[in-house]
Amino acid sequence: MSDAPYLSLEKLTLAYGDTVAVADLDLGIRKGELIALLGPSGCGKTTTMRAIAGLLPVKSGHVRLDGADITRVPANKRAVGLVFQSYALFPHLSVYENVAFGLKLKGMRGTELDAKVQAGIKSVGLSSFANRKPAELSGGQQQRVALARSMVMEPKVLLLDEPLSNLDARLRLEMRTELQRVQKETGVTMIFVTHDQAEALALADRIVVMKGGAIEQIGSPEDIYSRPVSSFVADFVGFENIFPLEQGRLKTSGGLIELPGQAPSAAGLAWRPRMVTLGSGPFRGTVRGTSFAGDSREYLLDTPFGPIKAEVEASQPAHALGADLSFDLPAEKAAPLARFA
């Protein structure tokens, strides 16, 4: 397996009129990888996908796919599939005809066409719905049709823009497994956009975190989850206690505080609520709020650091509002941040 990327974005800059939405983006993706694009609303995820698909002209930079520069190749000649958040099924065509649409344009006819369409519909479990119109399907079923319609084209890259965001929680899980299965079976290179960090962590081989039209961090799910490079990524993946460091001391709303032990050399430190030690330690805080989350309990503490969020096993004895507790922010557990804000 060669290390040269299958799909690469080089110094990609995308704009709507004079407004630059994505600037100087560099990204290399290997064949068969499943990439998640994660980031807050408006950071340029859809814009990037549309440029890869050829629906949005590139302002500067290059898109390369499978060894060819496709920057100026029109969208209908790219062999890139896109599953829209809104599914974008053709309302006047049946499930069968939707799936057959692209194959017919390729000139496929007769039994070959029929076999391929049937197989595509079967692979998403919709064989008994082949004659229905999109309006007669549930959201999850429509999503499957959209997936099958793109997959039968055997695209080099399949892009999915928030494919699961219109589905309810149970269907999301189901479709998640479905996506993973399709990807493993076909080995198609996939990029999917999501707002949901849990989804990205569960599905992706690598996660690309975007912020303001640029890449903030690229890494494996473990990297992103445990080793965020910046306060932005840390915040996005659920670190709730995040402080900048100044000369080895934490800068808090209560002033500079020195942590016991060796002074770390980072721009900041971040702790998940789980990483906060509650009931022992050198600091004291007052319980301002609690919430029960099934197998755990969350506390909001008033402390010299300002508000601190701590989470403990639900089996531990509960603390009442107003209780005065000792706690610790263990420096060795903290994620060191290379960049702050």
Binding site: A53, A75, N76, K77, L82, L89, H92, L105, R149
Partner: protein, 260 residues
């Protein structure tokens, strides 16, 4: 009952009488057995209804009106569909101005449109009567075509065109493969609305009709100036029922009122 609670039903009744009354009078008059257009009608007969079909000039002008209504509306749609598409899909500079100009004939009185066409197009360029009428009817129907087709385009998400393109279709191909089939109802509605508008058009045709070339409404006016028998009432009734039938069928099968 108080006077207050009677007020609304009474008003409604008056409005209805005002709207439908004349129509009922015309219908009643068409079945008259008398020699002149009268109300209440004298006796009952089908002679005027039957006579309509024997008047030579009615047949010719009915043909002309039909030609203008079908041809003019078709031409308006050929121009109007791409125009509506461009207006709804592309953020063109000045799109609002184009929209306003295109719908101008709805706002500007027909008599002005007719006079302007006559004075500045037909006379200077020596346009033939039929061609002039055709042009005028196309221009008159165009705003309706644009409005109705735009309404159904706005109901159609534009991402299905992008989906079609990503499946290998050209932009133009996507328009014919996925846009047209989904606005078919709107196009048919526009056609019916345009047809009826053109067919009933008087002021513009009045200016442009010439020797031997007339639309049916103009011919009816001319006929009434000479003969005052109930055949014009009979013809009106027939046309009214034709229109009602078309609109009713359209509503029934297409949900016509959604687009208008």
């Amino acid at each position: 009952m108080t006077a207050r609670s009677l007020f609304i039903p009474l008003t409604l009744l008056l409005v209805l009488a005002f709207l439908i009354g004349p129509f009922l009078i015309i219908v009643a008059a068409s079945f008259s057995a008398g020699e002149t257009l009268n109300f209440p009608p004298q006796g009952f007969s089908l002679r005027w209804i039957l006579k309509v079909f024997t008047v030579e000039s009615f047949r010719a002008s009915f043909g002309m009106s039909l030609f203008l209504a079908i041809g003019g509306t078709a031409a308006a749609l050929v121009l109007g569909i791409p125009a509506s598409y461009a207006l709804s899909r592309y953020k063109l500079p000045g799109a609002e101005i184009v929209r306003t100009v295109v719908s101008a004939p709805i706002i500007v009185p027909g008599i002005i449109v007719g006079l302007a066409l006559l004075r500045y197009i037909v006379v200077p360029f020596q346009v033939g009567i039929t061609a002039a009428l055709f042009l005028a009817h196309t221009a008159l129907v165009l705003p309706y075509a644009v409005r109705v087709v735009s309404a159904s385009l706005d109901n159609l998400r534009s991402d299905i065109e992008e989906a079609a393109v990503l499946l290998g279709s050209s932009r133009l191909g996507a328009f014919f493969r996925v846009v047209m089939p989904n606005i078919r109802g709107g196009i048919l509605s526009a056609f019916i609305l345009g047809f009826v508008t053109s067919f009933n058009q008087v002021p513009v045709s009045l200016f442009l009709s010439g020797p031997g070339v007339r639309t049916l409404p103009i011919d009816m006016i001319a006929y009434m100036e000479i003969v005052f028998d109930p055949s014009v009432a009979a013809l009106s009734s027939l046309l009214a029922f034709l229109s009602i039938g078309i609109v009713f069928a359209a509503e029934r099968f297409l949900g016509f009122s959604r687009y208008v």
